[in-house]
């Protein structure tokens, strides 16, 4: 077993960094080396001590810049730039940890929150100090056990006097777009978790009109470790252009699903078993892109490699699609999901994506109408860049890459054949869709 958190690794000594250097660069950093046992506050304090407050706003920002930490929620935006923008906005800012993992194929934020909640909460406090904020929240899906665990962690920390700001836990609806920054701000403001047009950016005007720092929970955990061990330690993993490590959710072709922490720049073939039984790899989740398995086998987990191929690292979702699975049928299922997850605000999105989904359904059928593919490309061009958020763009990227990578399967369907007549679903999708306003809040 080479996956998961069971990589053999010496337990670090008290207050010392998990050993940097070497081939594993001190990995895993965020999840404990042995098993998925949740880290309680005592163990956390034994290992890392109290959060290293710097006593003044702004001091952490150059350290984060030197570390080159980027957002781990998917957009890979440089963390120091967002912090600097919020810190210098002039009004008292708000800081929210974003744990809304709407991507059905991603488990990494839930795993991190469950296993290492105190790293996330340390990061939240340190980020709040860095931007001079006393208003701090944690945005989590309505998962009762996870929320209870975080609530009790927050209470324990408060009792131990570890936190400078009180952390409020805010409910996120179970929607794909709930974690989008402006949707988050709207939800925290008491509205529906729907995105709005930018500008103004959320870091300029977010929660109650104040500059709001929204950071993914994994980003905050990395931040907490960088504050302790420094930029050079962080850079011991990853590449010079994309430093550090990240949590990935790996879906193997045999159906196994694991969360693994790995350095950026790790070859994809060492993360996913890419043998003859795999036809394609999905990188970046349902707003990401498909790659032929042979191409993916030559790439590393880095935007330098993936972006020229139209994909990206995103939030670390990697799926190996088995060879006996119909890529078009799978893409059609996801297209339908993406269409129904439209917030229904922007015409090109709520009109265009269902059309595209219906056309995908058409070409997933035997002997489809040959016009469906050309229709789809036409509609894809019409919806791209036309939304308040990137939902249309991400959905189109996913569909286009599927049409390209699974083009042989489209030909197959034209002749009335399919690689998987039984159509066993492979990609994970939730059961329900939004039908009422309550589903968005």
């Amino acid at each position: 077993m080479t996956y998961g958190t069971t990589v053999p690794h010496p337990a670090p000594e008290h207050g010392r960094p998990p050993r940097p250097g070497g081939t594993d660069a001190g990995l895993p950093r965020l999840l404990p080396a042995h098993g998925a046992v949740p880290v309680d506050l005592r163990t956390h304090l034994d290992r890392y001590g109290a959060p290293p407050y710097l006593g003044q706003a702004g001091r952490l920002i150059p350290v984060l810049k030197a570390a080159g930490l980027t957002g781990r929620g998917g957009a890979a935006f440089p963390v120091h730039r967002k912090l600097a923008a919020v810190a210098h906005a002039g009004t008292r800012p708000v800081v929210i940890g974003n744990g809304a993992e709407g991507e059905p194929a991603s488990d990494k934020d839930k795993s991190l929150l469950w296993i290492s909640p105190h790293l996330v909460l340390d990061g939240l406090q340190l980020a709040a100090e860095a931007v001079g904020s006393a208003t701090v929240g944690l945005y989590l899906h309505r998962h009762p056990r996870l929320q209870d665990r975080l609530r009790s962690a927050v209470a324990q920390r408060a009792a131990a006097g570890l936190d400078q700001a009180m952390v409020e836990i805010i409910d996120a609806p179970p929607r794909f777009l709930a974690g989008e920054e402006s949707a988050l701000a709207s939800r925290v403001n008491g509205g529906p978790a729907m995105p709005r047009f930018k500008p103004p950016m959320v870091f300029e005007r977010g929660v109650v009109g104040r500059p709001t720092l929204v950071q993914n929970v994994e980003t905050l955990a990395h931040l907490a470790l960088i504050a302790r061990f420094g930029a050079a330690w962080f850079r011991a993993a990853g590449t010079a252009a994309e430093p550090g490590s990240m949590l990935c959710t790996l879906h193997q072709a045999d159906g196994r699903r694991d969360v693994l922490e790995t350095g950026l720049g790790t070859p994809l073939h060492s993360l996913l078993a890419l043998d003859g039984q795999v036809q394609a790899v999905l990188s970046g989740g349902y707003h990401g892109a498909w790659l032929p398995a042979a191409d993916a086998a030559r790439m590393t987990l880095s935007n330098v490699d993936l972006q020229p191929a139209g994909a990206f690292v995103g939030a670390g979702v990697l799926v190996a699609l088995p060879a006996d699975c119909c890529g078009i049928a799978e893409a059609a299922r996801v297209a339908r999901f993406l269409a129904l997850e439209s917030a229904g605000q922007c015409g090109p999105c709520f009109n265009g994506l269902p059309r595209i989904a219906a056309a995908m359904d058409e070409i997933a059928r035997p002997r489809p109408d040959p016009r469906a593919v050309t229709d789809m490309f036409r509609w894809a061009a019409l919806v791209q860049g036309r939304g308040a958020c990137h939902h249309p763009d991400g959905s189109v990227r996913f569909i286009r890459s599927a049409l390209h990578v699974f083009r042989d399967e489209i030909t197959n369907h034209g002749q009335g054949r399919c690689v998987d007549p039984a159509r066993r679903p492979f990609l994970p999708l939730p059961a329900g869709t939004a039908l009422s306003a309550a589903d968005w809040s």
């Binding site: 999901f337 369907h413 039908l435």
Partner: protein
Amino acid sequence: MNGITQSTALWYASRATGVVSLLLLTGVTLLGVLVNRQGRLPGLPRFAVTGLHRNLSLLGVLFVAVHVITAVADPYVTIGLAAAVIPFASPYKPLWLGLGAISLDVVLALILTSLARARMNRRLWRAVHWLAYLAWGSALVHSLTSSTDLHQGVLLYLAIGCALAVAGSVIWRISQAGRELPREERAAATLDMMSPRSVRAPARRGPREHIR
């Protein structure tokens, strides 16, 4: 009529492009109301209505530009380039030409804000876009008052038709308010419309597909 001579060509061009501009602006206004209410045109997908609204507006600006330039260049009356954009600055018919200048200014603001829409505050864009009604209204009054072309015959009926169409669309818009589908139901409704098969239970595929 003595036919078009060199001295009257600009005058005729200005009058003709003015009439076409009014028609185009009316069309753009009607399409704008349709876009706003997410209405449809027979045979066109919804976003094609948006595309038509955009492209027709650019065509309209082109005609307005020719209309203004020929009017300024026409030596028969002295308008001046400044008066084309500064309302009520024209020595000739200051009030009626001023309305045209207002219309031109607003149309330019609409085009510029729409080109920069991705990079600007949406509320501001919306606020500016409300002025479209002002642009159309002042253009209509300007057309009826600056020239006598629209006072009789076919052109009179055309002007009345434009006024009725926009008035009708405004009434339709008001009557439609509050009748639109809630946001959270829109995508599902479109999907329902697109595929007759059951769509609300997502991603359920059964053996009924009979692919082999």
